[in-house]
């Protein structure tokens, strides 16, 4: 399960049911993703009830028959001089309605009419300078303002933020806070090195016990990334590794869940780990969660909740929101001989748009099958 998964599960329904941009329910006001997620699922949308056979590149595109969908890029980069950076570029799609209701002859229809809305988040962590910047955008999915397609070339975009497949097969990521007067921009090329990893049951990732409370979910990992980051007027050549999640479904968060901690780890030997805790109020978490461990050249392995243990080793209080987030973990997977010590590269990687959450670059050290190992990754924390 990915970060995006739960995040979007939380966020997009919000936007759909609720007011915008301050989310007001009947009698409460909240900007918490989790609060908003609870509720009934619109039955007019298709639900993820059984595995599908993914067809690429078509399935890299949008699946408007499902209510929500996201493309989630995160990555850990470094410059020649060793300075480290982290980035997040995420596109969310939320259907406002299954089909646009037609009013009349085609000639009388506006091409700006939309039943899809898109949201995107762009954030860069400058580890050396201890600076984290994030931006948020919204748009209607119409008239080319925002959209996603798998064919003829994979492309997902919101205005001038985009992930676009190039003729050579690489994916070009572009984002800036302000093209005409930038303070932050990023231009990266991502090269796929391993086949997509399907999570859960052949890509059907369960989000709760109910049938259909699931997403179709695959990841592209070990993406070789190279390009430039322009930050504070300085252009830096960067290289590193990225991770992309793509999920779609019509799911809702189960009762009692207050938030989640999600981890995506890429070790130096190419091994990747995805796991999460869906937390209840009392500190326990959903026992049926399934993660994935994948080693180069081997079939990915499903991780049950009983297989891992997470211990928080530090915490950090956000001066902006006042929330207290965990800020350091030890993850133990005894069955695989894996112990990882995870630490944020920067304490403050909290996004404060219309939703407040923590999404940040981390560094990883530990042992895997009695050998020391290290790596990088991204962690997402919500509901704090």
């Amino acid at each position: 399960m990915s970060t995006a998964n739960l995040l979007a599960l939380g966020l997009l329904p919000l936007i759909f049911f609720m007011p915008f941009p301050i989310f007001v329910t009947e009698d409460t006001v909240s900007n918490s993703a989790v609060e908003m997620l609870k509720g009934t699922v619109d039955s007019r949308f298709k639900r993820a009830t059984e595995p599908i056979i993914f067809q690429f590149p078509k399935d890299h595109g949008a699946h408007p028959e499902y209510k929500t969908e996201w493309w989630y890029y995160t990555g850990n980069l470094s410059a020649d001089d060793g300075k480290q950076y982290g980035y997040q570029l995420t596109f969310f799609r939320s259907a406002l309605a299954p089909d646009t209701i037609s009013t009349g002859p085609l000639a009388e229809r506006s091409t700006l009419a939309a039943n899809q809305m898109y949201m995107a988040h762009f954030a860069v962590s400058d580890i050396e300078r201890k600076k984290f910047q994030s931006f948020e955008r919204y748009s209607r999915g119409a008239a080319g303002l925002a959209g996603a397609m798998g064919k003829p070339q994979y492309q997902v975009w919101l205005e001038d933020w985009s992930a676009t497949e190039q003729p050579d097969g690489t994916v070009h990521l572009k984002a800036t806070d302000n093209q005409l007067n930038p303070t932050l921009s990023m231009d990266l090329k991502l090269r796929q090195t391993v086949p997509p990893i399907l999570h859960g049951n052949q890509g059907l990732s369960q989000k709760g016990p109910e049938l259909g409370n699931a997403n179709h979910y695959y990841s592209l990992v070990g993406l070789e990334s190279a390009g430039t980051v322009k930050i504070g007027g300085q252009r830096v050549e960067v290289k590193g590794v990225s991770w992309m999640d793509h999920e779609f479904g019509t799911s809702a968060l189960s009762d009692g869940i207050v938030g989640w901690d999600w981890f995506s780890i890429q070790l130096e030997n190419g091994t990747i780990l995805m796991l999460a805790r869906l937390r209840y109020q009392d500190g326990s978490d959903w026992p049926s969660f399934e993660g994935t461990l994948a080693e180069i050249g081997q079939t990915p392995v499903k991780i049950q909740r009983a297989d891992f243990n997470i211990k928080e080793t530090a915490s950090w209080k956000s001066p902006k929101s006042g929330s207290i987030y965990p800020s350091g973990w030890i993850i133990q997977l005894d069955r695989f001989g894996l112990i990882l010590k995870i630490q944020p590269l920067l304490k403050d990687q909290e996004l404060k748009g219309n939703f407040t959450y923590w999404e940040g670059a981390v560094q990883v050290k530990g042992t895997f099958r009695h050998q020391t190992t290290s790596g990088v990754g991204y962690v997402e924390l919500t509901g704090y």
Binding site: P19, I22, L145
Partner: protein, 848 residues
Amino acid sequence: MRINILQLAWRYAWRRPLQSLFFIVGIAIGVAAVVAIDLANSSVSHAFSYSTESIVGKTTHHIAGGPTGIDQQIYIDLRRKLGYQLCTPIISAYVTSKRLDQQPIQLSGIDIFSSLAFNTDSSNGLNSVGRVQLSRFMVQPNSAIISTQFASRHQLQINDTIDVNFHDRSRRVTICQVIDVGDGNSSVDNILLVDISTAQEILGEISRLDRIDLIIPENSARQKIQSAVESILPMGVRLEANREKSGATRQMLSAFQLNLTALSLLALVVGVFLIYNTVTFSVVQRRPTIAILRAIGMTRQEIFTLILTESIVLGAIGTGAGLLIGTLLGQMTVEAMVSTINDIFFVTSVHQVSTSLIVYLKSLLIGLLASIISAIAPAYEATNVPPLTALRRSDTEEKANRILPWVSLIGLLILVFGFLLLIPNWHLVIAFGGVFAVLIGFALLSPLMILIFMKFIRPILKSSLGLIGSMAARDIMRSLSRTSVAITALMVAVSVIIGVGLMTSSFRRTVQQWLFDLLQADIFISGPRVAGSATTSLAPRVVEVISEIPSIERVLTNREVQVTSADVGSLQLVAVSEDIAGERRQYKSAKGNIRQTWQAVESGGIVINEPMAVRFKLEVGNRVKIFTDKGLESFEIAAVAYNFDVRPVVTMHQTTFQKFWHDRVLSSVALTLKPDEQIDEVIQQLRQRLSGEVQVIIQSNRDLRQNAMEIFDKTFVVTRALQVIAMAVAFIGVLSTLMSLQLERRREIGLLRAVGIDSKQLWQLILLETSLMGTTAGMIAVPVGIVLATILIYIINLRSFGWTLQMHIQSTEFLKAFVISISSALMAGIYPAWQLGRIPAVDALRSE
């Protein structure tokens, strides 16, 4: 001692209730006029900023095109190619609906995501509250959000439908949400808010936008952003700074407001005169009392304080009442002004007076200062005479006679100064300063004129009415210090009435004549006009029907659109097939005779209206640069025409218009009939053939003129109201003054009674005196009024709006003025005559 002074002041006020009442009423009316106009002005200013800045608050620039708007692709390019975030597409039109009483309602199409950046922090708009149900608003066709105020005004609920009409289209709109926007947010409380795509569908403008609003922050990148934005704009579309567009209207509106403010101040000036008068009298009357008080040991300062306290107390009561009355009047004034503004400036939806603390504080200050200032001189005078002389009245008159030449000289100087202020074309405020100076100059010259007039008329009165006549004239001369103030106050008020009245009636006559010359066709057909919206359009079907009717001789077509000029800003462009006024057209200036001028227009020249020529200092032969669909073009001015549109208007020939613009729609047509055809019958025919299909307005020449005059009259409602206020002030002023004057003569009358004047003669004397004063005031007011009217017509109006008016001296205006001055003077005489006639001579003579 302070308490004693207060008590004394109070007792005095109480003992002369009528005088105190007049004092209060004078201040109250003056303050009320100022408050009412100020409140109305500030409400209108609010409305203006709302209507120009629309529902989005922070816009600095916008992208606009020709009459048909711009392609939505520009917006998409702006976002996708340039990634510029601070821009939002807008479609805005006025629609009507039976369900909404056929009043113009603004339909605003917005993109809710991009519009968020434009909300000011304090704004509480329909789109900013964060309560919009996107799944209905954006997804369901023809859905609109309204405010709770709007909903309750028209008894609408969620899911109710309204059939809205736009030109000849009709669409059923569903209310998808009702949102509380809070009180006083009139920018949004009368709007049908729809998604941008919904607006395109309702208005039938698929893939078009009215404009794109932008925020381009004022920083080092501004220039770069502007040129980047401009680089993607196709021909005929341009980036404009907002203030450039609203500048012209703003200027016009402030001229309009300044005119009203000046008129309200005039009412106050009259009020101040009245107060000065009242206070002077209360002092003069108490000279003996003051002398006694002085004699028993009261200091000058205490007496000064006494009089001032009295004025402040009465002034405060009057000011309070004035604030109250002004607030009530303000509501009426707002309504009158809004209807004017809807007709000539823009559609507003002000329903409430926006009460502002500043207006009240200002008016409070004006009221109190007026009472203090008008009391200072008499109070000073009263305290600076030795007790003994204070008891002698002749002393005052001697002094008055001594300073008369000086007063007259100062008056003359102020008069000249006032005229000097009017000569150069400076700011309007200075011109109004000149008007006031002229008025004050005349006021100061009045005593001299009264003296001369009395000296002249005394022999005539003596020979016709005998001793009583002679006495009346001499009495007025003898107590000039008091009579002149009263007469002057009356004169000022009456001259203002004459001046404003002459200006209004001249204006009306000029417009009437102009309309008569202009409207030479028999029948006029136009689309349903929504006030304030720039354009109307005629369904193509109308033209077909017209061509089928045999009795029509000629069809003149007209297209009116709003365009932008590089040098003038926003202007009305009228493209015509022929000049409707034909040979009767009168140009203020032109290339040659009517025919030559028209030839110049046919070959690409333009005619501009007088307000545009005056405001932008344009002459025949100059060129005006206008943004066309084919880029920026310059057109030569062939003539300047008289026209009473406050906006800049450019008229060009249809072929010129069609050469530079892609627009082929017609706004209206005018028909001339073959000889011997009946206008009413043809109208009947047209109505029948067009009934049920399209909405058109078919009017005869006569109806159109009548409608135009109705609009004209509506725009002068406020002016007339001010005239009435000035009249009321004048009437009360003169009544109180003359009454006090007469009542003060108790001793003198007693003496007269004692020497044998009977009560009938007393009545004659008093009434003769007051009517003589009224007549004098009226006689001086006539020339002063004409001078004022001349200034208003030839200087103020021309400079404010660029209209040349023909001055028509109308005797009814003078008659009105005379009736007011003489009737109030006569009425002022009745009570004193009755009162003084009753007292036995002995009582009247008995000293205090």
